[in-house]
Symmetry: C2
Subunit: 353 residues, 2 copies
């Protein structure tokens, strides 16, 4: 197959981890006879530095013309004092909105070799295998009106039926392809948007009789993600709750540096990126963990290109390197020296060859 | 001293645990020569059943005429299908608003005897000693306009300078009386209300040079509460973020059944209540853990009545009963049989006598 992929390395460790991920892509291309045309573009701080715009037009155009996007990470202290339209995160928010990427998908699964790094007791963390489906282009993040004076500020939390229906359908379909359990998270005892959300989930569930749905309040969910995370299969929620809960969930298994994500829109196109940030403190030192970026490539191959074999090969390689006891410094416990980003990537490439 | 306390037992296990707390109050009155005039009133489901109103006028009036309020818990499946103005939670939201209780204070401290019940690894949970200061009468919970049709819903997130200033001052003062560290939590990279919040914290910090302030994003905070909760001293945040983060924080030490809280307004008056809910499944069985309600009484004596000795006596009694290995069924691990609510309370009363 021939596919065009736009690569947005971004800031901090973004370029290092995307370089590792690109090497994996190239190895897969050779081994499985695919052609991946890579086109690089700017986003975030890198784009601000180059052209005073966290999301240049040209970047959006290249993404639009491609089959998938691979993103590293954006942000860093260099731009922290900038006015808000010149902040790296604006690039991230804008690309989601402009490409219509309404569904953020974050799988979180315990990795036996890494359980020592989990803050949770082993017996609680070990069975975790869940996916958070976060609505990504609505709610408090984008709604109007918003306003700020010196004495008053307003943000609007708006959801339309259409916005809720498409994300809820995405989650039901995903739950059906997994263990058939869906937790819909809202704050229906307080918010009108949550009441509409809950109503639509109730309507939709009739069409998915094979999926068992539970409504949960966001505050109880924040507790249960810690006390009994293995009880979850698929979680669906609105943008702001999803931001908080998905970050909370990302640390429970101790493998934050391992977690991929996708932002999609229901037509196969998607943006794939590690969950971790740009980690400016370790940028340029060749010590970042490239696993999340590499696993984001696996997610891209499976979900955007239906390359199941290739995706599994990458995941298998990553887990086998970990099982052999090779870790980057973030996961290092004791004994063996940590591998650098390029050394660890080389191990994965060897496995794939 | 003579004090008038309005007791709102509420629903589920509310009546049982407040009964235990009231016994403690009576024992303290006798031992330290105080007069506590107790007046009982209705709230939540109990009030809906009695007079079709989750917060009767009379209840508000009694509260207003008293020096402090002791609340059990509200809610239960019996009222879950009611229209929203006849839901028990409405009583809770209304009493906060009508009494002007803008500051919800939730101390969370690891209890050595209970660390086995924590979902976190012992070395992470054991040093936890933090307080969450949640804004309680503003933001998404109360702002207008709000709207819901079949196809669209809107909630408004509004904060005024005055609302932010008073809660931020409360938190600075509390931090000053503790370890001098304040984490102000917002989502200033996205929300205008958070930008105003952050600006006001920056202005206020000049007046508290002895307090070290850090701004944190709500998503990172949700992670750090799990990975390094001992790093926090005082956390201050807006209403909805506070709802989520305080529930998350309440489970990290394994002692949810032990946690008191207060909702105050800066003039010494406050409503004191356990953090746990009404637990309808175990209501009426005399097995609920009354510790959180009893510790809420301690918090009331200390914060509302400046009875430091009395408050410490209660806390000492509770911890000594726990250290002696007496637990209610929620905390029972193995071996010894669990004590009932009244048996466990009797142990505490013995210690106090
Ligand atoms: C950088 C920020 C605007 C963004 C968000 O809140 O969506 C990030 O936290 C994320 O979750 O991707
Ligand atoms: C019952 C509900 C409305 C309430 C809230 O969200 O404030 C509760 O969760 C709490 O935290 O006291």
């Amino acid at each position: 197959m021939e596919k065009t992929i736009t690569v947005l390395p971004g800031d901090g460790i973004g370029p290092e981890v995307t370089e590792a991920a690109v090497k994996v892509l190239q190895t897969i291309a050779k081994r499985y006879n695919h052609i991946f045309n890579l086109q690089y573009a700017l986003i975030g701080g890198a784009a601000i530095d180059a052209c005073e715009n966290p999301l240049p037009e040209e970047t959006v155009e290249l993404c639009t013309q491609s089959d998938a996007v691979l993103l590293g990470a954006v942000g860093g202290p260099k731009w922290d004092q900038n006015p808000s339209h010149l902040r790296p995160e604006k690039g991230l928010l804008a690309i989601r909105k402009q490409l219509g990427l309404f569904a953020n998908i974050r799988p979180i699964k315990a990795i036996p070799a890494l359980l020592d790094a989990s803050p949770l007791k082993k017996e609680i963390a070990q069975e975790v295998d869940l996916v958070i489906v976060r609505e990504l282009t609505g709610g408090l993040y984008f709604a109007e009106p918003r306003k700020k004076t010196n004495d008053y500020a307003l943000d609007s939390l708006v959801y339309t039926r259409e916005e809720i229906e498409r994300i809820v359908d995405t989650a039901f379909l995903l739950a059906r392809s997994r263990r058939g359990k869906l937790a819909s998270v809202d704050k229906a005892n307080v918010l009108d948007t949550s009441k509409l959300w809950r109503q639509i989930v109730e309507e939709k569930k009739v069409g998915y009789p094979d999926v068992e749905v539970e409504h949960m309040l966001v505050d109880s969910t924040a507790m249960k993600l810690i006390t009994k995370p293995s009880a979850f299969d698929v979680i669906v929620t609105e943008n702001m709750f999803g931001d908080i809960l998905s970050d909370e969930a990302s640390v429970i298994t101790g493998s934050l540096g391992m977690l991929p994500s996708s932002s999609t829109r229901g037509d196969g196109f998607g943006l794939y990126e590690p969950i971790h940030g740009s980690a400016p403190d370790i940028a340029g030192k060749n010590i970042a963990n490239p696993a999340a970026a590499i696993l984001s490539v696996a997610m891209m191959l499976r979900d955007a290109f239906q390359m199941e074999t290739e995706a599994s090969a990458i995941e298998g390689a990553v887990f086998s390197v970990l099982n052999d006891g090779h870790f980057t410094s973030d996961l290092q416990t004791k004994g063996k020296p940590a591998l650098s980003t390029t050394e660890w990537t080389a191990k994965v490439l060897e496995e794939l060859d």
